[in-house]
Amino acid sequence: MQTFEYAPGLVPPRAKTTDGDDPLHGELLKLNMGPQHPATHGVLRIKVELDGETIVRIEPEVGYLHRGKEKTCESLGWRKFFVHTDRLDYVQPLMNNIGYALALEALGGVKVPERAQIIRVLLCEMSRIGSHLIYLATTGIDLGAITMFFFCFKQRETLYELLDAYTGHRMNNTYVRIGGVYADVDERVQDAIEAWIDQFPAAVDEFEKMLTGNRIWYDRNYRIGAITKEEALAWSLNGPNLRGAGVELDLRKAQPYSGYERYEFEVAVGTVGDCYDRYLVRVEEMRQSARIVKQALKLLKETKGAEFLAEDRRYVLPPKDLVRSSMEELIHQFKIVTDMALPKGCAYHGIESSKGELGFFVASDGTSTPLRCHIRAPGLMNVQAIPMVSMGRLFSDMVSLIGSLDFVMGEVDR
């Protein structure tokens, strides 16, 4: 197979055909994949030029789902933007909530209680499992493994029921607040999570049994779209895509937040960096996440009854029983809801989301509305890598490449 160097705007030289039957008369076939193509996982449009079945020029076009989230934050204010973070990467809303909350806490200097941190870790890892399940399910169905879709969505359904039992919603939970979480995880939910996580590793084994040695899955992923260490770093890839290429970088280990240093888990790293490695890394991460969830549940039992929301009257709503009885607390309630201001300055906090480093940069001028809120979406970097990995490959490889890079357009376009 001939390979081409990627250079935007440059059509690689091509041998003139003398074959009279060629209906294209030696021209390249221009093809639009998306923005409504089911395999693009959202409204992503990819302009492809094909020589036969080989991709010679490719240009992803983002922006079809642009809703102006960052600008909305500037007009909505600090507190209300939490509901918008849910809708960035909508397969892991709680993780986005936590990322935003951590950035605001860094800016405001809020100390998060221990139990809140444990709950956050629990929610983060459950979100990570949910997101990786979506990856397996959708990539599976794109490559013809319809069974995977049902197996993964069965597990995901249980996961979403657990989140429903805790937050009251399946998606768009909005249950994280500055200084902690909105509600405590009660015993009933803890037991349900425990029952689910106990059977989960067996389910992951079953996924692996279905896919790892499956010849169709193997042929469509093995040595497809290999990314070297240098390329991955140059394109600022993060998360499983970078770890699949053999770089051990996990923000949970590299710069632990929310007490991740207390948990025992391993960082899964690949060797070749192809679609197959990225798949194996994600499967291993699901197992490690299950380990963390178990440890977090144990810690939750130990810290039963501890506070889960900081007692900080600058940013955290006072308990309602005090609001009903004390004028001082009532004033705090009004002040925080209507114009809560964060101190002048700026802060950045990155967390290890299921797709890479999810970072929030917030800048405040000391008023109740942000000066700037920038979201470092890992999905955007993953979309950027599409041309690099798919140049010179067959068009049918595009499906497994897009699936294995794993992005959600809600976050990419924001």
Binding site: Y182, V269, P319, L322, V337
Partner: protein, 208 residues
């Protein structure tokens, strides 16, 4: 660090035919497992007190709503769904809403209004289905939003538990008019100690 193990396919796996048989055996086993499909519209989904449905105004046992039209839910709403016009009233709470509209098409069920309300007037119900023939009919006015407290008792108790941060102190009987006939909010002196104040508020109607 754990380096993931790449698998090389064995001859049997390469041949593919035995693998088809193995796959089908899994499929057959799955046929006898418990079915998890839910026939949603025919079988309604289970609703608990945790379910965050559409917001509703709670009608207390004396037939009134607790809202004093302070506008805090309006300020807390990230979707700008709530519109309130306040006015005076002869009732002890002195102010009440003349107009309280929630645009259900804008509402995202986040529960910020419930969290913000200082008078325990608005709560998220377990009603989730929303369909009508025009946009105007989906802008709910006060009459459409009212729900008797008895129907939402479990949710109210659950939210009190969250918003009081799971304290064990006795809570005010929210279903009755807690301020009694005297019409004064518990003063600062009764609120001196946190644990005793809800009890004081609870005893007030009986004392009056």
């Amino acid at each position: 660090m754990v380096i993931v193990k790449r698998k090389e396919l064995s001859l049997l796996e390469r041949l593919y035919v035995p693998e088809i048989a193995r796959g089908l055996s899994i499929t057959f086993r799955k046929m006898f497992e418990k079915k998890i499909t839910r026939q949603y519209p025919e079988e309604p989904l289970p609703k608990t007190e945790v379910t965050r449905g559409q917001p509703r105004l709670v009608v207390k046992d004396d037939g009134n709503i607790a809202c004093v039209s302070c506008g805090l839910c309006e300020a807390a709403c990230p979707a700008y769904a709530i519109t309130i016009d306040g006015g005076e009233t002869d009732r002890p709470i002195e102010r009440e809403p003349k107009r309280f509209d929630i645009d259900m098409l804008r509402c995202i069920l986040c529960g910020f209004c419930e969290e913000a309300c200082p008078k325990d007037a608005i709560f998220m119900s377990d009603e989730l289905e929303l369909a009508d023939y025009s946009r105007e009919m989906l802008v709910y006015d006060m009459e459409k939003l009212k729900r008797p407290a008895a129907a939402m008792r479990k949710r109210i108790e659950y939210v009190h538990k969250i918003n009081d941060r799971w304290r064990s102190a006795p809570r005010p009987p929210m279903l009755a008019d807690q301020h009694g006939a005297h019409g004064h909010a518990p003063s600062a002196s009764t609120a001196g100690s946190h644990a005793s104040s809800p009890t004081a508020a609870a005893q007030k109607p009986h004392a009056g």
